[in-house]
Each structure stands twice: as C-alpha cells, then as structure tokens.
Amino acid sequence: MTAIDATHTAYMPSSHADPTAFVRRADGLCELDLMVSGASCAACIARIETGLREDERVENARLNLSTGRLALTWRGEAEAARELINKLGAIGYPATPYEPEADSDPQMVEEKRLLRAMAVAGFAMANVMLLSVAVWSGVGEMSAAMESLMHRISALIVLPAAAYAGQPFFRSAWQALKHRHVNMDVPISLAVFLACGLSVYETFIGHGDTYYDAAVMLLFFLLIGRFLDMRLRAKASQAARGLAAMQAASANRVLPDGRIEAIPAREVVAGDHLLLAAGDRVPVDARVVEGEGELDGSLVTGETAPVAATPGARLFSGMLNLDAKLVVEAIADRDNSLLSEITRLVEAGEQSRSRYVRLADRAAKLYVPIVHSLAALTLVGWLLILGEPRPAIINAIAVLIITCPCALALAVPAVQVVASGRLYRDGVLVKSGDALERMANIDTIVFDKTGTLTEGRPRLVDAGEISSEALDLAARLARTSRHPLSRAVADAAGMGETADRVTETPGGGLQGQVDGVSVRFGSARWLGLESGADPHSEAWLWVDGQEPVRFRFEDQLRAEARRTVKAFKQRGCRVILLSGDRKIPVDHIAGQLGIELAFSELKPQDKIAKLQDMKADGLKVCMVGDGINDAPALAAADVSISMASAAEISQAASDFVLQGDRLDKAVTAAIVSRGAKSRVMENFGLAVVYNMIAVPLAVGGFVTPLIAAIAMSASSILVTLNALRLAR
C-alpha cells in the first residue's frame, strides 16, 4: 500500500483539493460534479448511487458511466462535500471535484448537429432509394407519367434534405473558396449542387435520368466520415479534460481575521496570503512569508534536488511543498504565474504545428484540379462531337458526381478512428487524428530525463548494505513523513510500525522515540556530520550511542526505459536526451541507456531552440516529456507524448498521453501510427483504382444513376473494411 501511495500522492494534488471550493448553490441545494475513478459496471453504479443516497441529506446522485462523472445534489451545508467524497473513497471509488464546462460546449453542439444531419440524410437516402429502385427495375413497363411522379416525389424528399444535411460541407467549401484555396468540400458541394440541379431540370423540363439518390447517398456516406472524425476528437478531448479535472486545484486563503477559506486556485489574486500545508502544490507564483522548508520543483525545472524555502524566497506555481507548513503571499494570479509564460510558448509552438497539412487536404489539392479539368474536357469533347449542349452537360456532371471523393473522404477518418480506438485500448490517448499522421513520419525521438526516463523520485540504492535493524528504525520515522527521501525509505522497508513522538524539522530531518531510545534521521548538516563524497542524495540515521548509518538515494530509471530506447533505435529513430538537470546525472543516465546525444542544464527556451535546430535540419522530431518546463518543447516538436502523471499543461500540449505511466506505450503509438499511415495510403490507392474504372465510363457517357449508386457505395464499403483490418 505504501508503494502505491507514494507513486500517486507525489503527483496528485487533487487528493488535497478542497471540494467545498467547487460546490455550486441553487435554491437551498448544493450541487457538485465529481470525477469518479474505478467505476466500470452495473454493480459500481448501484454501489455508488445507493451508497450516497443512504445519507439523508443527499437528494440525487447520478453517475454517467461513459464519462465517469457523478452529479451530486444535497440539502444543507457545502461542507458536507468532503464527507461525501470520503464516503465514496471508503466504498472504493476515489473521487475528485470537477469543474464543469459551460453547458453549450461547442464540440457537443457540433456533434449533435452532425448527427441530426446524418439522420436526415439517412432517412432521405432510404426513401429515395425505394423509389429509385422501382424506377430502375420498371424500365420499359412503367408509364412515363408514373416515372415522372416518382421523380417529383424524390425531388420533394431530397431537395430539403440535401439543403439541411449538406450544410457542413457547403459552409466549409465556402470558407475555403473565400480564402482562395480548395479543400475536399469544394468538389463535394459542387457535385451535390449539380446532381440536384440536373435532376430538377430533368424532372420538370427534360425526360432523362435523375441523380437524386446519388446526391443524398453521397451526403450520407460523407457525413459518416465527418461524424467519425468529430467523435474521435470529442472523445480524446473529453478524456483530456478529465485528466485536467483530476488536477483541479484549490488554495487555502488566510483571511485578515485569521480564518482560512478554501477557494479555487483561479480566484487567487496577487497579495492574497495563502496557507500551504505539506503535500500541497503551490497554486500561483508566490513569496514565502512564514515558515521554512523544502519544495520539490522537479515538475517545474526538471531538477530533482529539493528547493529550499525561507521567508522571502520566491516560489513558482507547480512546486510541491514537501515538509513544512508555509504561509505565502501570492505575487501573481493564476493567469500571470510562471504557467502563463509557459502557456505563451506552448501557444506559439502549436501555431507552428497547425501549419502541418493533413494528408487528406494534400490529396484534395491534387485531386480537385484533375477532376475539374476532366469534367471540363468531357464537356468540351462532347460538345465538339455531338454539337448539342444537353448530353455534354449531363456527361460532365456525371463525371463530377462519380468522382466525388466519397471513398477519399472516408479513407482517412475511418482509419484514424480504428487506430485511435486500438491505442485507447492499449492505454494511449490520442488527442487528434493528424497526430497519428505526424507520428508515422518521425525519425528522431527526444526524451526528457526526470519523470520520463526516470521515475522522478528517489529510491534507496544501497538497501542491501544497510543492516535490517537500521532500515527498520529509519522506516519507523520515515513512515510519518511526506519527504521524498522518507518515502523512499518507507517503500524499501514496506509496511510496519511508526516511532513515537516524531517531530519533523523542515530542511533537517525527523526525530522520535523507539523503545525509549532517541532516534534521528535526516541530513548530515542537521546531525552535525560530514556528508559523503559521491554525488548521491543522502540521509543519515543517528541512534543514541551508535555509529551513524548513511543511506544513499538515486532517481532510478523506469523499468521499461531501456526497452523503449532500444525499440526506437531498431525502428531507425535517433534518440536524444534533453534535460534541465545537472550534467553528471544526465550523462550517467544517457550512458546507462546507450543514448549518444545528451544535453543538460537546459532552460525551456533552450529546449525549444534545440528542437528548432533539429527541425531546421529536416528531422521529424517526437518529444516525450512530463514537466511544466517541457511543455513548450512538447508544443514545438512535430509530435509529442506525455505521461498521465505529467503536469496538466504538458498533457494539454502533447498529442499522445500514456496512461498508467508506461513509457513503452510510446513504441506502440509509433507502430500503430505507421500502420495507420500505410492503411491510409492503401485506401488512397483503392480510391485511385476506383476512379480509373469509373471515370472512363463517366467520360464515355455510360454512367447511369444505377451504376453511380453501386460504384459509390461499393468503394466506400471497401475503404471502411480496409480500415477495420487495423483493429486486430
């Protein structure tokens, strides 16, 4: 249990976030949204909901299993929140407060709109197909009047349906044309417009074939592709939001009358006095007013050595208070803290990344001019041959309809949905579809050291050389403390008893009584001893009347780090280490892993500069990192990966998030991305083959509405089936 605790609490300020800060009040009722972890089945729902309703005050508790969110309403005091969360924890479902986003989430609105458009298109397609099949199979038997009636009914269904369901494409095509470039939606919109226009003409003035079914079928298939794309993005961002909510931060403000009030961290203003208990993360940049102690800044600077805090010392948001109770004065609000500068750098990086042109758009750039000139040639050719405009126009429109990039538009999203679904099962969160494309192209992978290649916390290295009595004594003291070195000792010793009357001296060590004997465990300086010569972190055990014992600690490599580095090398990637830590530990780690190129003592700006140099050399760089100091580099790289334990901002800046902190999942991400790319290419190939068969038919004037319907649906199904092969 100790081991698990140590891993999690070190990174989860959430367990200390005060839930009362997130309670909303509405007519006498308190409302709170919680993220519940571990709920996965009917029994979980029942246990959580009935468990909470046993409490007399609880009015309603409803768990959404898909998102893991629990909506809770109760009567009475907001302070009951903590009690209810404790109760959830006791049942076995740890919960953290969640800041709900505004009700009208643009992504949700867009998703529903697409779903409605798809429903309308599906309805219209099914009903028009019913009429069209009757017309096709009734050739020669059906009277002209009946046929005309069928066409009129089709027009009645399709025209409003296309006007409604086609809007996502029309809007996007119009936007593209306004900015003087073309995307896939331009030929789509053109084909739908012309198919409808031609059909209306033929229905009311002419007497030939109509393409109502083709127009609406096109829209239906394309909307499926569009919807899959949207769903993928929504799912990823929802999961990312969930991760962010896990870190919902609160702060304890000291009021002038000495009372302490819990508030959300974003409500802190410069000048506020904040109380920082041991284990709290610094919510905003601040200056120490009272108290002395040490803080863990590894997530902020990448350096593992603790930062000393004395009155007047400056603290950065994101640092973790290790041992002492501090009173600090905020010197900036949350938006102007160190985080804000990092955020600006991240945004700059993301802008450069948004210049990446998606494969589908590159295909469209090639595709659109070819198709449009083919249609124009068909028009001119038939005009010259027959000398009358009607058949020439009909054939040119047939070319546009049949080449409409149905399969092409489905090719990419179908593959990306399948690929990211598979990665999700493997514990890799994909933030966007084009991340897969960028990941497939990488030839260089850059790792951060602390927290990425290493576990980001010290471990006892010489447990074997220390007598078990000494380890036991040290552990009895260490189990009472949150200091990383104490944690390491407690982990090495396992579960056990604690010493009596333990006191902790911030920046010094622990002191207590074991069987009436005074025992001290702490730094050499505090104990008045000579510190060791080697560069390891150390702590000493001092027992009255005995030789002091030295404990050595080291930030250890992740178990899978070596395997991961090797796997990337085998796949032809250059591996590089960029770290903010000092040169000796960085070179040591690089040597252990066989990484030839390692840079140390880099500031966030230096990391960006290094990455930009590599990009300027034509390398495609993937960055793997976790700290706040890595966030700008993560955004500047071509593609980036972060850990689930990483700082919130790093997760936001990266394309992939590795769940469960398994570094080797980065290899899985690379393999699946490459697989996805070859599937996409195959799909493009299929689309080309389809066009090579269909286009000559259309140019030659042999395409009937029946052939168009079969060809379009067959190619779409083929492309989807090919994408599904990736799921295995």
Binding site: N64, A119, V120, L131, M146
Partner: protein, 58 residues
C-alpha cells in the same frame, strides 16, 4: 396502380415518424451515457417489502 398513391405517402410518413423519433431521443439525452444505460438494465433495485425506501430519482 392507384394503390401506390396511398402506399407511397404512408411509407414516407412512417419513415418520417422514425426520423422524428430519433431526433426526439437525441434531444432528450438518451445517447449521453450509452455504457451506463447498458449496465443499468442489470441493476437489481427491488428492495424487500417493508424496507422499501423512496428512491430520489431524476
């Protein structure tokens, strides 16, 4: 053939009813928690007689 004049509108009307039904279910949030809905059907929420406690539901 005059039968068709009845049948086509009836078929269309039925299709349209289906569409309206879907729109309604979408709007009333029935797709918000697909996993939960699948699991909730397995929940045994019958309490023994006499101990039944009013459930505070939506």
């Amino acid at each position: 053939m005059s039968m068709l004049l009845w049948m086509i509108p009836i078929a269309l009307m039925m299709g349209f009813l289906g569409l309206v039904g879907f729109m309604w279910s979408l709007k009333s949030g029935q797709y918000d928690d697909l996993d939960g809905a699948a699991q909730r059907i397995l929940m045994d929420d019958d309490a023994p007689l006499g101990e039944a406690k009013p459930q505070a539901d939506e």
